[in-house]
Symmetry: C2
Subunit: 368 residues, 2 copies
Amino acid sequence: AANIDSQTSHKTIELPGLVSISTYVPTFETETAASDVEAVTKAALAAGFTFTSISPVTESGSFIVDARTLTRAHELSQGSTYTDFSFGVAATESNPTQIQHVSSLTSSLLVRSEEFLKNKLASTSAHFGVWPERKPIVTDTKTTDLASVLLLASLYSRQIHVTGVTSKDDLALITMSKSKGLQVTCDVSVYTLFLSQEEYPGATFLPTKEDQKALWDNIESIDCFSIGQVPSLLAKFVGKPAVPGAGISDTLPLLISAVAENKLTFDDIVAKLHDNPIKIFNLRDNESVIEINVDRATSSLKNTKQQWSPFAPNQLKGAVERVHMNGQTVCLEGEFVVAEALGRENAFFVQHPSALTATPSAQEAQLA
Amino acid sequence: AANIDSQTSHKTIELPGLVSISTYVPTFETETAASDVEAVTKAALAAGFTFTSISPVTESGSFIVDARTLTRAHELSQGSTYTDFSFGVAATESNPTQIQHVSSLTSSLLVRSEEFLKNKLASTSAHFGVWPERKPIVTDTKTTDLASVLLLASLYSRQIHVTGVTSKDDLALITMSKSKGLQVTCDVSVYTLFLSQEEYPGATFLPTKEDQKALWDNIESIDCFSIGQVPSLLAKFVGKPAVPGAGISDTLPLLISAVAENKLTFDDIVAKLHDNPIKIFNLRDNESVIEINVDRATSSLKNTKQQWSPFAPNQLKGAVERVHMNGQTVCLEGEFVVAEALGRENAFFVQHPSALTATPSAQEAQLA
Ligand SMILES: [Zn+2]
Ligand SMILES: [Zn+2]
Ligand SMILES: [Zn+2]
Ligand SMILES: [Zn+2]
Ligand SMILES: [Zn+2]
Ligand SMILES: [Zn+2]
Ligand SMILES: [Zn+2]
Ligand SMILES: [Zn+2]
């Protein structure tokens, strides 16, 4: 069981297994999907994440959108998922009816900025109408589109989580809405706390320096930290290949560097990467534990691949020495000490405990 | 007392005195204001309107914004107002505190698109916080800004009235919000039901032909008709002088032409220009009656001034032959048969019955 002693300052600390609420698998719809899921969840586990909520969006756009594509995602992930996991489903112009059939099998509904622009309020309103009240709707919309989505959440009394906040104004809108009783929460991608448009002019997916400062100044208003798509977007922006799992191993070391600078506490990290995600996304706590040597460079671990990162190797300290999950040590010194992928589906267990055995794809096809 | 027999089809009909919920006085802040108020309210009375809610906005922008400017508006209107009347107050970036002092003396708070763009949500949110729950907030915002204002109305449980709707999408958003329990109502300017960007290319304050069709198709979702600023904007657009009272005399004849074409009923006119405005703006019903000869050209009346209008004189039938208000006939065959302006302030009577006597400006100055 988890035994957190994050208050003390000795070199090795124990934290509960981290939760990634937005894990991006770039090529889910292709033949390499299974190996991508494996690569992403292995990177996540080695980096301290014992749970990953897999985004329904790939490089090509919305992928998990109905029972058929959800079943396909299950098939591709079967035996390839090293962390516990759940799937989200994406809202599209044409799928409010399909959404009903998969809402009990997914952890959240994603209302994307891109789709929202096309569909306007009418279609998105239909999604809010059919989505269950007690499961979060996640959105990456910004500015006035965000206000529109919050309006829908308010009118339909739905729980809304804003992912990847990058601006002061959006955070103020969220905070104000929360203070008036709206069930709204939010996250920032960890990269956006450390990188800005000042270092990468033209990278509009990053905050301005001023907005970044506002995120830090209001860090207590931010419910969760996420990884999201920002590391992949940045790799693409600078002309590097976006490998599956980009940015995941940087996440915890970056936050630990902020603890060293007294900008965060370990309690903040636990709250925003474990407690709050579990509460907001109604996840089963898998009671995992990770051991971190806060002074040791992550590059010293055995699994280290040569991936491009915007951060210098010696900047990133906080090596995850052990990951203990589902009753056993699964990762030691960066190496996997289990023979197979042991990840269990979370929302799946919660909603239909018996269905993962035998032939899930056949069973789920009935739901379409 | 009003005796409505709008169901029958004889030439002369009686309707209750009409309510103008958005009456534009172009030059309120100048020396000619008193004569402008007189010209506008005389035009309104002759055209069948026995109540006018005077807009806090002039050609130069927001005018009634605090106790001082409201007192000034009272002084200018004193003895010049031929209809019963009330004043609105406009939200600006700097006046949420002042708004508190005048909310009981005004009929509504106007959140203008132009100001909203400058102030964003923070300042407007402050206005919603101080404005009374039982008085409408009026807004002319559109598209995503409208969604933001509706969000504020939802979060603050405030009554919101959207004025001058011109698009299908905005009407759909309003209708959806109303169906989910938001206290939202709306009006369209009568000009926008009869004129479009097809006839006036580039006049973006008019609807497209497609949007205009949607307004007619959903006419039952529109709570009120208004006059608003559209006639003045159109005059300016075609290079004609915008005289005080532009468009007022066209309003009822245009609607009567729609009755003749079976696109409206007289009951619709009474609902949208009398019953609903009184209910929404919490007005005292002044029990006035107007008599209209539906087949007679308005140009045959004695008061007819040569104003520019986009409509041919013979198009406009429905002459208001008599206006009976506050216990007497005040207008007969287009001529005023009273020696002085008898208009009474409505919100004023409701909220502080004794204050209009003696020296209102001195009394109101205390409130600032
Ligand atoms: Zn254990
Ligand atoms: Zn310890
Ligand atoms: Zn499934
Ligand atoms: Zn835990
Ligand atoms: Zn009478
Ligand atoms: Zn009659
Ligand atoms: Zn007054
Ligand atoms: Zn009446």
